[in-house]
Symmetry: C2
Subunit: 141 residues, 2 copies
């Protein structure tokens, strides 16, 4: 049961790095050096984030990517949705047979509730909240 797949994982790492690299443009090759993530794969990931409006891209020599929003406005649920589709744990177990009826199904209801909790908990986590903190606990950037 994976809550976070590898592409989401790499995206989080890259975004955290870029968040600390404020206002600078970061190239894939720099990220590859620092984070040791396979280059072509990371590139594909950043391109996807660009398309989805999380990153801005700059072509040509000394180009790269930078955050388009503030770290505290980038939620990891956004990233999960980009790479893993809509945040759903839910799905119908019994097709027709056995299950009394869609809206009465206890299992479906319970899994729906669990899903709601997971989503709302995850919804609190931003890139900013994953950065290093000061000694008084304040979040940088």
């Amino acid at each position: 049961m994976k809550l976070i797949t590898r592409d989401t994982d790499y995206a989080i790492r890259a975004l955290c790095f870029m968040a600390e690299n404020e206002n600078g443009v970061t190239s894939v090759s720099e990220l590859v050096q620092k984070l040791k993530i396979p280059g072509p794969f990371l590139r594909k990931i950043l391109q996807a984030l660009n398309k989805k409006g999380v990153l801005a891209s700059f072509k040509g020599k000394s180009g790269g990517f930078k955050l388009r929003r503030k770290p505290k406005e980038i939620f990891i649920t956004d990233l999960i949705e980009v790479f893993q589709g809509p945040l759903k744990l839910n799905r119908c177990i019994f097709k027709k047979k056995l299950c009394p009826s869609m809206d009465k199904c206890i299992l479906k209801k319970r899994i729906g509730e669990i899903e709601q909790r997971v989503v709302s908990e995850l919804g609190l986590i931003t890139v900013a909240s994953l950065l290093r903190r000061g000694k008084n606990g304040e979040i940088f950037k």
Copy 2:
């Protein structure tokens, strides 16, 4: 993000059926007819449940399987564990780099908390709780 894979799903259906078929032994071929699940696959699933002590098996003509415990003592978390391994959403995102330290990591801590909730919510669901209920809401069997 699948909380329940197909084998767990089929196991739940089969166990619900068998729970209603109380004290009788149910063969794979009967289940296949009623539930329209691929036979060999279902057989493999029931054999696994037998090994794990959820079902008892009876060989030979008119053999089959029956529940070894009461429906209200069979938790769907048990089934998830049989087919999908230990109930863990958690996993380390940052290896060495970036993440301040194992025990301080906010992401890891939060995902751990979410996991705990999921597990405890799921832990309330039993086979009995998925069966049809009487008009006063009492759980049969």
